[in-house]
Amino acid sequence: MHINLTLIVQMLVFAVLIWFTMKFVWPMILGAMQERERRIAQGLAAADKGEEELRQARTGAESILREARDRAGAIIDQAQRRANEMVEEAKSAATQEGQRVLSAAQQQIGLEASKAREDLRRQVGEIAVAAAAKLLEREIDPRTHEALIHQLAAQI
């Protein structure tokens, strides 16, 4: 039980030890711990962010796929409609063409028939004149009676 120089020495050693801990031990260890804490927090945040981004990318991809599918459906529909239209158009064009050809043929037939009738009339007229000439037994000048023959022919 005594107080001596050891007290002073002890205080000096203690002061140096405090200074050393303050300078070289505490800030380094705590700093490294806090840095690690920060990194772990960052890593966790990055993982969360990555997960969130993945989820977003997935929904984005899904919507793009759906849109593409919709568009492909629309294109197919349109193509089918267009094909139908083309078939219809071709049908109606063909019908019209047929009609046209038919009417032209009918016209031609009508024309031929009226021409044949005309010839027939004329021939009948000539035969009638020849018959009349035979009946009258005299020469009838065809030129003189041409008007008459035509008149007769028109009456037949």
Binding site: H2, N4, T6, L7, F14, L17, P27, M33
Partner: protein, 288 residues
């Protein structure tokens, strides 16, 4: 103690209470005397603490902070984190001193106290072998050792009180509590009373801080010394009788039990010393 010359109980206990000094100390206070053993073990334990923690600190800085801590580093970080929590629980300001100081005190005092768990005669006998008459291995059973800590803390308290509050603020803290009055004259009467009360409280801090630690560890050491007395009287001759064996078994069991209990005490005492230091310095920093 050499078995050839068995000491008496008084001699044995006296031997364990005597420091290794440059010369015998008669008066209570004599600053020309120095306890070599306390200084040696204090410095040794300081180097042990500072060295091991410094190696961990350097490794923490050198190795990227992203790597996981391993082995001793985990242990050190556990202590550092725990001390940091203790400081933050009590002190809410910013200080570069308090936390490192708390860590230093806890580890150093713990190591002081831990010396108590070494077999009481191990190091003194080795020292006797190389010609040193006395050796006390536990620095916290030396009044110089514990007062060296508490007075340094006390000086830091005074320094920070002056620094944070100014001389007048510090003086006001010592004289305007616990009694105060709105009336100036009544207050003037209270000032001396307050000063006496507060000053005694203030002065009592380093004393109680040091003596609490000293008392606990000294008592623990005395128990170990007294348990050693169980087999002291018979020496090796005791091993020839059944009662001698019984005594040795009793000593082993009791010493083990006390070691386990003392392990708790040395930790608690180091913890109390640290917490009180934090509280005192926090009080020095904060206004009331």
């Amino acid at each position: 103690m050499a078995a050839s010359q068995t000491p008496t109980i008084g001699e044995y206990i006296g031997h364990h209470l005597t420091f290794l000094t440059n010369k015998p100390q008669v008066s209570l206070v004599n600053f020309s005397v120095i306890d070599y053993d306390t200084v040696f073990f204090s410095v040794l334990l300081a180097v042990l603490f500072a060295g091991s923690f410094y190696l961990v600190a350097r490794r923490s800085v050198a190795v990227s902070a992203g790597s996981a801590p391993r082995g001793f580093q985990s242990f050190v970080e556990l202590i550092v984190d725990w001390v940091d929590t203790q400081v933050k629980d009590v002190f809410h300001g910013t200080s570069g001193l308090i936390a490192p100081l708390a860590l230093t005190i806890f580890c150093w005092v713990y190591l002081f106290n831990f010396m108590d768990l070494l077999p009481v005669d191990l190091l003194p006998d080795i020292a006797g072998g190389v010609g040193l008459a006395h050796l006390k291995v536990v620095p916290s059973t030396d009044l110089n050792g514990v007062f060296g800590l508490s007075l340094t803390v006390f000086l830091l308290t005074i320094f920070y009180s002056f620094k944070m509050k100014g001389p007048l603020g510090f003086l006001a803290e010592l004289t305007l509590h616990p009694f105060s009055s709105k009336n100036v004259f009544v207050q003037a009467l209270f000032v001396p009373v307050n000063f006496v009360l507060e000053f005694v409280t203030f002065i009592a801090r380093p004393v109680s801080l040091a003596l609490r630690l000293f008392g606990n560890i000294f008592a623990g050491e005395m128990i170990f010394v007294l348990l050693a007395l169980l087999t002291l009287m018979h020496g090796y001759a005791g091993l020839e009788t059944a009662s001698g064996w019984a005594m040795m078994l009793l000593q082993a069991v009791l010493t083990f039990a006390w070691e386990v209990f003392h392990l708790l005490i040395i930790t608690i005492q180091a913890f109390i010393f640290m917490v009180l230091t934090i509280v005192y310095l926090a009080m020095a920093h904060e206004h009331h």
